[in-house]
Amino acid sequence: MGAWVMAGITFREAARKRVLWMALAAGAAFLSLFATGLYFQMKDLNPHTNLLLKREGVGALLMVGLYAVDLMAVVMTVLTSVDTLSGELASGTIQAVATKPIPRWELLLGKWLGFVGMVTVYVTLMVGGITAVTYFMSLHSVGGVLPHHLLRGAALIWLECILMLSLTFRMGASFSTLTNGVVVLGLHGIAFIGGWIEQAAALTHSPRALNVGITASLIMPSEALWRRAVFEMQSPIVSTLGFSPFSAISVPSKFMILYACLYLALALALAVRRFSKRDL
């Protein structure tokens, strides 16, 4: 019960953060830009080009858009939640709540659920927005292009954000706002570099480099979730086009998704453990 009360107020608090509205505004601006670009692309298509090629071209553009959405969602998740624990610990706001008859694990879980709600709304709006724009703008000329497995892909982007959220909570239970942000985004950076190394290694058939990439994904599996999302969403033909963040040459396995889920659960459990034991 207490967790739901906390979730409700945290959702409202998160929804009031300027960074969320900035991220939404940036998302809207980005969608407009994307729509404009796509509009002219559709207008200027050579009428003699093969329909299949046209559709694949639109599909590749959609993946670029989704890549931008993924990046914005991850950054927005971290920036909105980075001070929810450390900030309230520093200001003492948490004291009036932590002395109420609600166990600390419920307090933390409630806050986490509030952010999960906010992230869910953001990811739904952004992934839904870009998919809808692409579909309707390409409807007339090429019959509408949709991601291959939209729901699976969106779920993986959402999972990546929740993973980042849980890690931010874990670090926030120990560190100051700034340190928390640096650590979490730094870990995402490791995952990002690891993803590229893994892709390059798959292209050049270098098993040792591949292991370096996989190790990076084990340290932080966020980018692996994005690459799995790409694999689920793009048409099988585009994935063979080459080496880019929106192609998936070396596809993270289902075990990597399972690993990411365990990672997430562990981060949350450790956040609860640390928060329950620390002085407020």
């Binding site: 009360v5 409202r12 003492g92 009036a96 709540v97 002395t99 109420k100 008859p101 166990p103 329950s276």
Partner: protein, 319 residues
């Protein structure tokens, strides 16, 4: 899931007539000892003042009693249960020193939120919220967001949230800091009403004059240890110093005060002496006037709490 690590209760009485009972409570942060050894008993129904200079460990002690900080060693029972127990928190109220909360909430929303954390029903909240806002003088500001509140108004709404659950024990950490004289008076009245209701109030304060008016008993804390506790109520029955401004006093008349007074001293117009209690004063006055002495002023010389504080804690501020 939150299990305090060092609170052991086996050797303490299970049903405690004290609202608070601590033995050797200690808190160390790295190299710094915030609370050395706090042994304290606060009987139920008392307004208890916790006094000490800055850095004496008052707030840290209160945080341990509330379960916000785990003690390094020692034991603490609050309302007969280990400090910080969730079930105990249902029966306590707490006003932090600088109360703040999400500033977009209105005063009424804030109370509803905290009330829901106490597990209060919507019907209870509908009844309690306006009554409490009225009590703390914020009835006209119920729908105003906290960001438009002054520091004093925030303290008032903080006080209201500390009373939501009709607590058996209320912790107030510097409740009058940031309050104007009207606000201070309100806090005094709230404390008085809580005592009449039978609640225990644990008050951290710097403002000795406030403590003197409101508290039944005080503890003086220095470097994390209780140096002394004093009853403030019933102090009138103790020996009392009297200072008078008189004229036409002879040495013989001054000596004649000996049946009632001791330490009689006369210097110019000033006459001072000590009596066993204030009941003998009318007789002394009749005696003096009957001997032709003109009396212009009679001032009882109670030791003020401030003097007591300086005597016990010292003037170095515990630094």
């Amino acid at each position: 899931m939150y299990a305090p690590r060092t609170w052991e209760v086996d050797s303490l009485p299970s049903v405690d007539s004290n609202a608070i009972h601590t033995e050797g409570l200690r808190k160390v942060y790295g190299q710094r000892t915030a609370v050395r050894s706090l042994t304290l008993e606060v009987p139920r129904g008392e307004v208890f003042g916790f006094l000490g200079p800055n850095g004496a460990g008052k707030t840290t002690s209160m945080r341990m009693l509330l379960g916000l900080a785990a003690p390094t060693a020692g034991r603490a029972l609050v309302l007969g249960r280990p400090a910080g127990a969730v079930t105990t928190r249902r029966r306590i109220g707490f006003l932090p020193e600088h109360f703040s909360f999400y500033d977009w909430l209105t005063a009424a929303e804030l109370l509803r939120f905290h009330g829901r954390l106490y597990g209060m029903s919507p019907a209870d909240l509908r009844r309690r919220t306006p009554a409490l806002l009225d009590l703390v003088g914020l009835a006209d500001h119920r729908d105003k967001p906290l960001r438009d509140f002054s520091k004093g108004m925030l303290q008032r709404v903080g006080l209201a949230q500390a009373l939501l659950n009709d607590p058996e024990l209320i912790f107030l950490d510097e409740p009058t800091s940031g309050l104007d004289p009207v606000g201070r008076r309100l806090v005094r009245e709230v404390i008085k009403a809580q005592r009449e209701r039978g609640a225990t109030v644990f008050l951290n304060s710097h403002l000795l004059s406030e403590v003197e008016i409101t508290c039944d008993r005080v503890a003086f804390l220095k470097q994390g240890e209780v140096l002394a506790t004093r009853e403030l109520r019933g102090a009138g029955e103790e020996t009392l110093g009297i200072c008078m401004r008189v004229r036409k006093l002879t040495e013989e008349v001054a000596k004649g005060l000996s049946p009632w007074a001791s330490s009689v001293k006369a210097e110019g117009e000033r006459l001072s002496f000590t009596v066993a209690n204030g009941e003998v004063l009318p007789e002394i006055l009749r005696f003096l006037v009957g001997r032709g002495v003109d009396v212009y002023e009679v001032t009882p010389q109670r030791t003020s709490l401030e003097e007591l504080f300086l005597q016990i804690v010292g003037t170095d501020g515990g630094l």
